[in-house]
Amino acid sequence: MYRWLDERLDLKGLYHKVLRKAFPVHHSFFLGEITLFAFIVLVLTGIFLTLNFEPSIREVKLPDGRTVPAAYASVLYIDSLPFGAVIRSLHHWSANVMIAAAFLHMLRILLSGAYKKPRELNYLVGLALLGLAVVTAFTGYALPYDNYAVTATRIGYGIANSIPWVGTTLAQVMFGGEFPGSEKSIPRLFSLHVLWLPLGLMALIGLHLAIMIKQKHTQPRYAERVAPGKILGVPMYPQQMVMMVILFALYVGIMTIIAGAFLAHPVEAFGPPTPQTPQVKPDWYFLWLYGLLQIIPSSWEFRLFGATIGPEFIGGVVVPGVLGLVAVLLPFVDTRKDKMRYMELPSEHPVRTSVVLALLVFFLMASLAGYKIDFQQQGSILGENAVLWTLVLGGPLLTFLVSYVLMRVFYGKAREGEAL
């Protein structure tokens, strides 16, 4: 059988060219692999969900006599199937894990300088992947059409609508009309969530992996000592493939146990949409944006070329836009002349490491600001706008200074001539 296939497909050639590729070994590469595993599980569980989900808000009658939107009823049906609730919960948890893992993967890239020559392009593809993963997760959030999901999605609709000149059109394209209310919203979000955005993700993941295979991993530093100038690793087949099976099984095992024990979005508890708006917050990966919206005063509003620039646009679009632009420009600002082969140690780059830590604190403090109303209700000092502004701006600054001084004290001055 093997000989028959080999004569026709040159399997030996495939083995020597592809399956003998060397895979460097380092635990920090697993953050990217966890992101990939989460995506695979999302696709597999998503296939099961699409087979049972009805993307419509037409009214249907439940066996208990309640009249609810069809999308909501179909999610109740999925939850009633044997193992159905666990699969839906696993889908929900994997979406959260994919974004968290992609974010930590990006932090690893930033801390080890892996965005430098020749990997600038792949870094940009990775940034696009992170952005697309967040948008894909957001489009899935409204689909159960429960009271919580509808209210949380409305915040995103408001941000999209607030973009000057193009906001209304963008909101129409994304939501198929006014959200909530338009009958086209759920079918539109459904097709984006299960078809167009996953296709985009698959294409970008394929490109990301292809470029990575061509350019090779950045290697752990010790490889320079063991095999200078070469790629040191284990062959893709059989070792790396067996390792991937082990890690994927580990992912599925741990995440299924978590998904079964903690149902992430129990629609029965939230109930179908009602005219009363429940007090909700967007998902955690939007909480920092929501926090900025909470602390930007409503007086920050002006007119520009006939459009209104308001706090929603400033907090929801301008700030993330500026951060995104800085991220895109980074590999063209922090450069090196020779090809980067080995991971840089964070301790050797105190400025860069301190900036990354400061960015992390900014996200944390901005997310904390998302609880402003809760703090006010409890009479906490954290409910004050001035305090939250101090934390959002002062926290990162203080982090940078403390981190930079500590690293200089413990690791000495950075070598001369090194960027950042």
Binding site: H26, P82, A101, P220, A249, A259, G260
Partner: protein, 160 residues
């Protein structure tokens, strides 16, 4: 970033435990404010647990990689020596896998017949099946698989 050490993965596991505990405390705080235990996780709890899960996975994978692949690679081949203990462990794990699979099917039949879905048990059993599969492959990789470390030229003709 220097070598495939077990230190960072171990710290990731400790941090993961901290994040899960923070999520638990958040739940306690919310329950105190509401006067009852809510049926759902809060946004903060989901965020903490998502990062906790990633760090838990990262820590476990890092330690598995350290166990199977070592701290530093050295070019060469290594052939495993036959041993009885891993075979015995494999047989026990296969028996466990069979028992868990049978129990999982019974659980599904029970849910279909009664309409009662014990999600925590379903998740636990299916997750355990997957973990046993991981352990079986781990034993194969550690005690039966050919160990090989290679070097490759930086320039290659794949994929183009």
């Amino acid at each position: 970033m220097y070598r495939n050490d077990p230190i960072l993965p171990t710290f990731a596991l400790i941090l993961a435990a901290g994040l899960f505990y923070a999520a638990y405390l958040d739940g306690q705080h919310i329950a105190r404010l509401l006067g009852h235990v809510p049926e759902k996780l809060s946004v903060g709890q989901i965020g903490l647990m998502a990062f906790g899960a990633v760090l838990l996975l990262y820590g476990l994978m890092g330690l598995v990689s350290y166990w199977l692949e070592g701290m530093e690679l050295r070019p060469g081949r290594h052939f495993p020596t036959p041993s009885t203990a891993p075979v015995a462990a494999g047989v026990i794990l296969v028996l466990l896998l069979t028992a868990l699979s049978g129990f999982f099917v019974r659980l599904l039949v029970y849910a279909a017949q009664t309409g009662h879905n014990p999600t925590w048990l379903q998740g636990l059993i299916f997750g355990s099946i997957s973990l046993v599969v991981a352990a079986l492959f781990g034993i194969y990789r550690r005690f039966f698989g050919r160990e090989e470390v290679i070097t490759e030229e930086e320039k290659s003709e794949f994929p183009w």
